[in-house]
């Protein structure tokens, strides 16, 4: 079968080579019938060079895997709904589908060729975003043949950002061009120095190694400056990563800071409250997607109260049915809640299946922006803000509401609070519910960066305890500072020691710290502690 096909292909190629066709572009397009990626790549180059008006549409379709070729080498573009149009004329195909239609093969190498070809063709596009893309792709694949076209584009360009991108592309091309004059190359080095990122560094590296002496000297000077700047930005970037890790730790631990820190309950099922929140996010997202697809991007906003309620109700149920019988018996509480965590995990596994559930990132949480030399990913950025907001809200609840007052009263002196008429049993339940609800909210945020699987909670429980113990039991501010400093320390160590060793070092340091200060960073003082 395969051999037969190949024979046909060979015959077809021979036919194509004979001067039967009048149109040279048709001859070029016939190259898409090949099964070799190298041939397809060549065809793309030839098509771009031909300047045919249909070329951008054809390459776009190819990039999306929608370009199909029939057995008589005619190209068709398939729309999402399955309808076909002739790729060259743009006419819709009516009647029978052409014989032997099959998609043109695409892989990364072909996609790269398309990107480069599109760069050449969209240099003068009216859309500034497209011009910017074109400049970027020329920068990454500098082709000396494109120099006149880029210079023409610079002359015409009015948008300053795009103009700078074109100038950088021009600089990359000049450096790659063997016969460019030295002064031009030195000017190009200055442009790249101003760009100052890793890409510029690698181009300058090449220039420093192979350029003529004056160019090499200029490149070396520029490299020194770029290296210093990059090193500084590198530290800043690691601190940002650390804050981001810290915010995740804070989210996971802040609920525990209430149940363990304030109430003193060793709750091993805390992670499962986070997991419940993440599954709630999944359910809410599914519901929003089917009920109101227009709001799908904001499903997370609806998921926050839902996760709080689910986590909170589960927490109150656990407190009423198990934990209240075990107050003052930490070992039994530990074992009972550990058993409970296994039960909850297996329950979710039976309910939702063992495989991960997909919670998609809304568009406003995808991608990244550049801030100087920092790459800031939106999902992490939002999570940092979110964790701070939750922290502030919780501090307010504890400090400024009557519920917060009662809660603090009960934890500080239960009997006196009771004699003041506070229903301590209810306060216990509500406090535990609050901590669990906050854990549920953490699940909403974690569903954006981690797996929504029954094991989600397990991976955070140890870290959560670590943060609370480090920060000082019974102190929300301690949890904040503890989470952030553990995050930053971890991320500063990671590039040096690696992820595995880095974590070990942190744990050892933490154990040593607890030896010196058993009550953590910010110990709670006063008679309540000694009691």
């Amino acid at each position: 079968m395969n051999r037969f096909l190949r024979l046909i292909l060979l015959l077809a190629l021979v036919c194509a080579a004979t001067p039967g066709r009048a149109d040279p572009v048709d001859d070029i397009l016939a190259g898409f019938a090949s099964t070799s990626y190298a041939d397809i790549e060549k065809t793309i180059g030839a098509l771009a060079a031909s300047g045919d008006a249909a070329a951008p549409a054809i390459l776009d379709a190819l990039n999306d895997g929608l370009l199909e070729i029939s057995s008589d080498k005619k190209l068709y573009i398939k729309a999402e709904d399955g309808s076909l149009t002739d790729a060259r004329s743009g006419a819709a195909v009516t009647g029978d589908t052409p014989l032997g239609l099959k998609p043109v093969k695409v892989n990364n190498r072909v996609r790269r060729a398309i990107e480069a070809a599109m760069g050449q063709m969209t240099l003068l596009s009216p859309d500034p975003a497209k011009r910017l893309n074109a400049a970027a792709s020329l920068f990454h694949a500098p082709d000396p043949a494109q120099l006149p076209a880029v210079e023409a584009a610079i002359a015409k360009e009015s948008d300053p950002a795009v103009k700078r991108a074109f100038e950088e592309a021009r600089a990359a091309i000049v450096l790659a061009k063997p016969d460019a004059a030295d002064p031009d190359k030195i000017a190009a080095v200055a442009v790249l120095e101003a760009r100052g990122d890793e890409d510029a560094k690698s181009l300058l590296d090449a220039a420093a190694a192979s350029g003529s002496p004056p160019v090499a000297e200029a490149a070396k000077a520029a490299l020194g400056k770029i290296r210093r700047e990059l090193a500084m930005w590198g530290v800043a970037q690691n601190v940002y990563y650390g804050l981001s890790l810290g915010s995740v730790l804070l989210l996971a631990a802040i609920g525990l800071a209430i149940t363990f820190g304030v109430m003193g309950v060793i709750n091993m099922a805390h992670g499962e409250m986070v997991m419940l929140g993440a599954y709630t996010t999944y359910v809410v997202q599914q519901a929003v997607q089917s009920a109101a697809p227009a709001l799908a991007d904001y499903a997370l906003v609806f998921a926050i109260p839902a996760a709080f309620i689910v986590g909170g109700v589960a927490g109150i149920a656990i407190e009423r049915s198990i934990i209240r019988f075990l107050y003052g018996r930490p070992l039994e509480t530990l074992l009972a809640t550990f058993g409970l965590s296994l039960v909850l995990q297996q329950a979710m596994r039976s309910l939702f299946g063992p495989t991960n559930r997909e919670v998609s990132n809304p568009t406003w949480m995808s991608g990244s922006m550049d801030l100087g030399g920092l790459a800031i990913t939106y999902n992490r950025f939002w999570i940092i803000l979110f964790s701070i907001a939750i922290f502030a809200l919780l501090t307010l609840v504890l400090r400024k509401t009557s519920f917060g007052l009662r809660m603090r009263a009960v934890t500080q002196n239960r009997r006196m609070a009771a004699s003041m008429g506070i229903r301590t049993g209810w306060i216990d339940s509500l406090t535990f519910g609050l901590g669990s609800g906050v854990a549920g909210i953490a699940g909403v945020a974690l569903s954006q960066i981690d797996n929504v699987s029954p094991n989600l909670g397990q991976s955070y429980i140890i870290d959560s305890f670590m943060v609370v113990v480090f920060g000082g039991v019974g102190n929300l501010w301690g949890t904040l500072v503890g989470a952030m400093s553990l995050g930053v320390a971890n991320k500063l160590l990671e590039p040096v020691a690696g992820a595995v060793l880095g974590k070990i070092v942190i744990l050892v340091l933490l154990v040593l710290f607890i030896q010196r200060r058993p009550r953590g960073l910010f110990p709670v003082k006063g008679r309540a502690v000694e009691a």
Binding site: G65, N107, E198, N356, D450, S459, P495
Partner: protein
């Protein structure tokens, strides 16, 4: 205390086993043949292994509809080792000594396989192991139906080198035996191909790692040195989802730095938004998207059995399909389920695989397979971009590692040796990696 109970249970099990053999001498009176299924149904590995349990039940069900085996019905014995490695050994012992199963299909991680290995060798059982692994092992009692490194990792690297022109390599893995051994083999292979040491970056992260920011930005930095860079990922399990999310968010596209993964299949992609991942690669011996009548029939059967037509199929499922059919054929050939007879009969058995060819069991207890490289599509499936021209026989002892390259395995008589050293002419060589 736990240990004590374990011993007690063991003693009980042994006593039971002895009583059974002594009391019920006419074993043929049994009207079923028992097949053990040793896959975790709870704990971290349940995500992958539950599916394999289901596919085994389906295959056994199908065989029974065809009239069973040797005139008897097959009976599945399912146990749950709960992703707990020592429990794997206990459950294996129970299957072999108490339930007296004729063969066991099971395990996923290498550490679980290593944990049951002594049990199978002591009790002379038969284990079919369906997952790609690091090699450097060959046991008389184990049949390896997953890929050895030369059936997955090496062809993937060749593809990137030849088709994408990759010059710089990041070997990123989870920190345990499979990634470490595979990366050792790959490093030796790349160096043999002339890649200088500074163009290879090796990095390990713990199980379930979720904060990939630093690692991904390091990859980005490593990749911007002007040479084409690719990531070879042996990241396993849950850590993959946050890894790919971070790649997408930091804007690393497959056209810039492609990632080829050895542990990411259709099942793993099902929990992921695949749009930012289009073009990243995976190397397997089977893809659900491969268009053959056998595969279509298998997928239909699976959907009917699991009563959900959204469930995907994947490579280890095909490995069980091949392994089970091979075992059935070998039992028919031997006319008995006696382990020694079946182990001898297995070698040379050839059955159709799902990709339109035939797979054969070789004397080293590995099978012949085609290798496919696929690119991730927006619908969570793979599009085959390259495949080997023929079948690749599994090579248990890597040719690229010192100490391992002189070893061969051949379980045919009279050699009957899993680690024969061709240099010294003795059975019993040890590889560096296996220690």
């Amino acid at each position: 205390m736990r240990k004590g109970t374990g011993k007690l249970a063991l003693a009980g099990a042994l006593a039971c086993g002895m009583a059974w053999t002594a009391g019920a001498a006419p074993a043929s009176a049994e009207d079923t043949i028992k097949v053990g299924i040793l896959h975790s149904l709870s704990g971290t590995m349940a995500i992958s292994e539950t599916t394999l349990k289901d596919v085994m039940l389906m295959l056994i069900d199908e065989q029974n509809k065809k009239g069973g085996l040797l005139g008897k019905k097959l009976e599945a014995v399912v146990v749950d080792p709960a992703s707990n490695w020592p429990l794997f050994a206990e459950k294996a012992k129970q299957l072999l000594e108490v339930d007296k199963v004729a063969a066991v299909f099971g395990c996923w991680t290498s550490v679980s396989r290593k944990s049951v290995l002594p049990v199978f060798e002591h009790d002379n059982g038969i284990l079919f192991y369906p997952v790609q692994y690091e090699g450097e092992e060959s046991s008389r009692n184990v049949f390896y139906t997953g890929a050895a490194p030369n059936q997955q990792a090496i062809p993937a690297v060749d593809y990137l080198m030849n088709e994408e022109g990759v010059k710089r390599w990041v070997l990123e893995g989870t920190d345990y035996v499979y990634p470490r051994t595979t990366n050792k083999i790959l490093e030796a292979y790349l160096k043999m191909k002339g890649v200088p040491a500074e163009d290879i970056m090796i990095n390990y992260t713990p199980f379930g790692f979720s904060d990939w920011q630093t690692e991904v930005s390091n990859i980005k930095k490593f990749g911007s040195a002007g040479k084409k860079t690719a990531v070879v990922s042996t990241i396993n399990g849950d850590a993959n989802v946050p890894f790919y999310k971070e790649l997408g968010n930091q804007g690393i596209k497959a056209t810039d730095i492609p990632v080829v993964a050895f542990s990411v299949g259709e099942e793993e992609l099902a929990g992921l938004d695949t749009k930012p991942l289009v073009g990243h690669l995976a190397a397997w011996n089977y893809f659900e998207s491969i268009d053959t009548p056998e595969n279509k029939a298998f997928i239909d059967e699976w959907h009917k059995f699991i009563k959900n037509d959204k469930r995907t199929t994947n490579d280890p499922m095909e490995a069980h399909y091949i392994g089970f059919n091979m075992w059935v054929k070998a039992v028919e050939k031997a006319g008995t389920t006696d382990p020694d007879a079946v182990i001898d009969a297995m070698i040379g058995v050839t059955v159709p695989n799902l990709t339109g060819g035939y797979s054969a069991m070789m004397p080293n207890h590995h099978i012949t397979k085609p290798v496919y490289i696929g690119e991730i599509q927006a619908d969570g499936q793979f599009d085959t971009v390259w495949q080997t021209s023929g079948l690749v026989p599994g090579d248990e002892w890597s040719d690229y590692l010192e100490g391992s390259k002189d070893l061969i395995s051949d379980w045919r008589k009279p050699l009957s040796c899993g680690n024969f050293n061709v240099k010294t002419g003795k059975c019993g060589g040890e590889s560096v990696a296996a220690q």
